[in-house]
């Protein structure tokens, strides 16, 4: 006497999995740590996965590094690390959400607000958006000026009470705490005031232009 056990097993497993995804509370933390713990180095140590759209992490040195603020501004800026620190550091604590589903709770960033830099550079009336350019030579993204002026939008120099590491975007990265992580341009080297926002790197490759976190 034989029974279609394989078929039943498949249907039960698929049904249970689909039900838990639709209604459940994720993989319990204990199960996740049991799975990921033994893998040690394979798992992200600080909860962040590494994303780069090029083949390497841009190198930089503290002496010569500058952040340019240019475009539709009255006073173009070329800012060193010390200039940014001198512009007034702010602290922003927020959960970090990636569109692919992983999150890091309560990340503490320290940096200078974009609004403070815009005030220094004096934005021209025609400017409606900002273009943020990464030193990796490929990644760009845009923010509307009204969004960029919100005080919690910062150019972060520190993360979790330490300078941002190379993997997380050193020496400076954009932090927009109410948007998904892909708006946070890493290895930032230039902010350009422009007349209108264009499509960013991922938006040009199919991502939604509305990056607000969907709670």
């Amino acid at each position: 006497m034989s029974h279609p056990i394989g078929r039943r097993l498949f249907l039960a497993g698929l049904g249970a999995g689909a039900g838990l995804v639709a209604l459940g509370d994720g993989v319990p933390a204990a199960l996740r740590s049991w799975l990921e713990g033994p893998l040690g180095e394979l798992s992200p140590s600080d909860g962040f996965h590494f994303y780069s759209v090029t083949g390497s992490v841009p190198s930089w040195d503290r002496i010569s590094w500058r952040l340019a603020v240019d475009g539709l501004v009255e006073h173009p800026l070329s800012l060193s690390i010390e200039d940014l620190v001198g512009a007034g550091m702010r602290q922003v604590t927020a959960d970090f959400h990636c569109v692919s589903g992983w999150s890091v709770a309560a990340v503490r960033w320290e940096g200078v607000s974009v609004a403070a830099l815009l005030d220094q550079a004096t934005i021209r009336p025609k400017a409606r958006a900002l273009r943020f350019e990464s030193a990796d030579g490929a990644y760009v993204d845009f923010l509307d000026l009204s969004v960029a002026r919100r005080l919690e939008v910062i150019i972060a120099l520190r993360m979790a009470s330490a300078p941002i590491t190379a993997e997380r975007g050193a020496p400076a990265r954009l932090v927009v705490p109410f948007y998904y992580g892909y708006k946070g341009v890493k290895w930032l080297r230039r902010i350009t005031a422009v007349e209108a926002a264009d499509t960013g790197y991922w938006e040009a490759r199919g991502y939604d232009s509305d990056a607000r976190i969907r709670h």
Binding site: M1, S2, H3, P4, I5, G6, R7, L9, F10, G13, L14, G17, A18, L20, V21, A22, G24, D25, G26, V27, L31, R32, L35, E41, L42, S43, P44, S45, F48, H49, F50, Y51, S52, V53, T54, G55, S56, V57, H97, V99, S100, G101, W102, S103, E167, R205, Y207, D208, D210, I213, R214, H215
Partner: protein, 191 residues
């Protein structure tokens, strides 16, 4: 156990699915494991290959049954139906592990219990990976909580699948009828 060679359709199905799955495992590993992500970079291309492999996998699973339904139906029946003799594989785990397991000589049987279990578990893993991949890809249509749950189960199913594949490859190479021992046995017969 009757040794029935796989048909051309079954070989095409197996190796096209295997190619797509290995590409998904490799690119998924590069996206998930930070040291590999840093080594490779190129997130857009790695992600594109991962998704294209998933699309190719689903396409193969639709196309081959559409073209060769009777054969695929027979294969599904062979893998799905279990009888008393199938439990023999589970009663002798040590023989299975050290690759000395020889199935009972039951006529008209193509798969042992382990192969049937593997087929069901791999099918569950792959179905869950495709299912959870949907909200991960179309993230803007879903809440972040659902995408997060989908991603957790995607990772869980991927870990499970990787373990199953490791066991499958180990036994496929080393079992008495496996690729290595099977070849050695054939060489002995030829001598």
């Amino acid at each position: 156990m009757t040794r029935t060679p796989a048909s051309a359709t079954e070989k095409i199905l197996h190796w096209s699915v295997a190619t797509a799955v290995l590409l998904m495992v490799a690119t998924g590993g590069v996206m998930y494991i930070p040291s590999l992500s840093e080594m490779v970079g190129q997130r857009f291309w790695v992600r594109t290959v991962h998704i294209a492999s998933a699309v190719a996998f689903v396409f193969v699973l639709l196309l081959i049954p559409a073209l060769r339904w009777p054969e695929i139906r027979r294969l599904e029946l062979d893998l799905s139906f279990w009888d008393r003799a199938d439990w023999d594989w589970f009663r002798r785990p040590w023989d299975v592990f050290i690759s000395t397991y020889q199935p009972a000589d039951v006529p008209r049987r193509r798969f042992n219990g382990g192969q049937k279990l593997l087929a069901a578990l791999v099918a569950i893993s792959l179905a869950l990976l495709v299912l959870t991949g949907v909200p991960m890809y179309w993230w803007s249509w879903f809440s972040s909580a659902l995408v997060s749950r989908a991603r957790d189960f995607h990772v869980l199913a991927a870990f499970g699948l990787a373990a199953l594949l490791a066991g499958h490859i180990y036994l496929a190479l080393l079992s008495p009828y496996g690729l290595l021992q099977g070849r050695i046995a054939r060489e002995r017969i030829n001598r």
